[in-house]
Amino acid sequence: MVREVAESCVDSLLTEMVASYCNRFYANKPELAARRIEAIGYQVGHQLSERYTMERPRFSDHLEAIKFICKDFWTELFKKQIDNLKTNHRGTFVLQDNKFPWLERISIDPSTDKVNSAEDDSFTTAENKAASTISMHLYYPCGIIRGALSNLGITCAVTADISNLPACSFVVRVKA
């Protein structure tokens, strides 16, 4: 039987990890915090894909490996598959999850909303804050995907696009 824990354990751990790196360890260096969070994801992705591919033959090409991430790997983590996969057949893959679970429960610190008195300003500040908080949370899953693919022999860069929330697209660019 597969061992399980409460979903809130993972949620709490991820929230606290991101908060610790962004607000305490590297409070004024967001790019360093981002790199550390991505590195944690990379390690987890690397280990998970090692485990999930133990009983499988090698993947014949990049597309096969990416499909494995979209189907089996995603299902192990989120109990569902990636909803849409696109590729330009030149090394770029876009994996879209229509409702990415890890973005569902992020709340933004309200204390930052009331700092500015000018209405327009405070709105932009709050927006920016929200956007940067969300992007900090995305370094972790990007790292997981990059780590998982690296374990399958694919060197790549992974970024996330959240212009269509709650949908989230992960863009994988394979390095030649």
Partner: protein, 186 residues
């Protein structure tokens, strides 16, 4: 009659959203590893893990109270029992036991035989002095502080250090009387 508090978290665990524990275990491990790289000192890693746990505990207590249906504990003995039997079960899916009470009933040990945090974990020699699961002690301290109990939580035994079980000593330092932020007659 008041509803009887559940004596075990089995039913709650069966009904809440659960996820594959591997992700949790490996994420925790990767965090510890990254902290060791970034903070360098093992002592500092212990401290930061505890702090992170504390921050989690002060939030997790709300979910615990909302989902467990546990009513007010009559004394610290009952509190410890609820943590071991209900708390550990509903979040980590394992049951702990309570023992080694002192005469005053303010200090006891929570014993954990099965611990999902340490699946796949082996500590290298360079990590002597690391309390790998120190986040757990922070969670307990944080959660109890939110229900007016100041505690001190220390590791007595640790499987990663060669012991047969995990043993966490929970010591009640003081019980803070509840202060309401409002007056009744207003």
């Amino acid at each position: 009659m008041a509803p009887v508090a559940p004596r075990s978290g089995d039913a709650i665990f069966a009904n809440i959203e659960r996820v594959n524990a591997e992700l949790f275990t490996l994420t925790y491990g990767a965090i510890v590893r990254q902290l060791l790289t970034d903070l360098e000192e093992v002592e500092e890693v212990n401290k930061q893990l505890e702090q992170m746990g504390y921050n989690i505990g002060i939030r997790l207590i709300d979910e615990f109270l909302a989902k467990s249906n546990v009513s007010r504990c009559v004394d610290f003995r009952e509190t410890a029992d609820v943590i071991a039997k209900v708390g550990f079960k509903m979040f980590l899916g394992v049951t702990a036991s309570v023992s080694n009470w002192d005469a005053e009933g303010t200090c006891c040990s929570i014993i954990l035989e099965d611990n999902p945090l340490v699946d796949f974990v082996e500590l290298p020699d360079t990590c002597q002095g690391l309390y790998y699961c120190n986040m757990l002690s922070g969670v307990i301290r944080g959660a109890l502080e939110m229900v007016s109990m100041k505690t001190e939580v220390t590791w007595i035994r640790d499987v990663l250090r060669g012991d047969d079980v995990f043993e966490l000593q929970v010591k009640l330092l003081k019980q803070v009387p509840e202060e309401y932020p409002y007056k009744d007659d207003e």
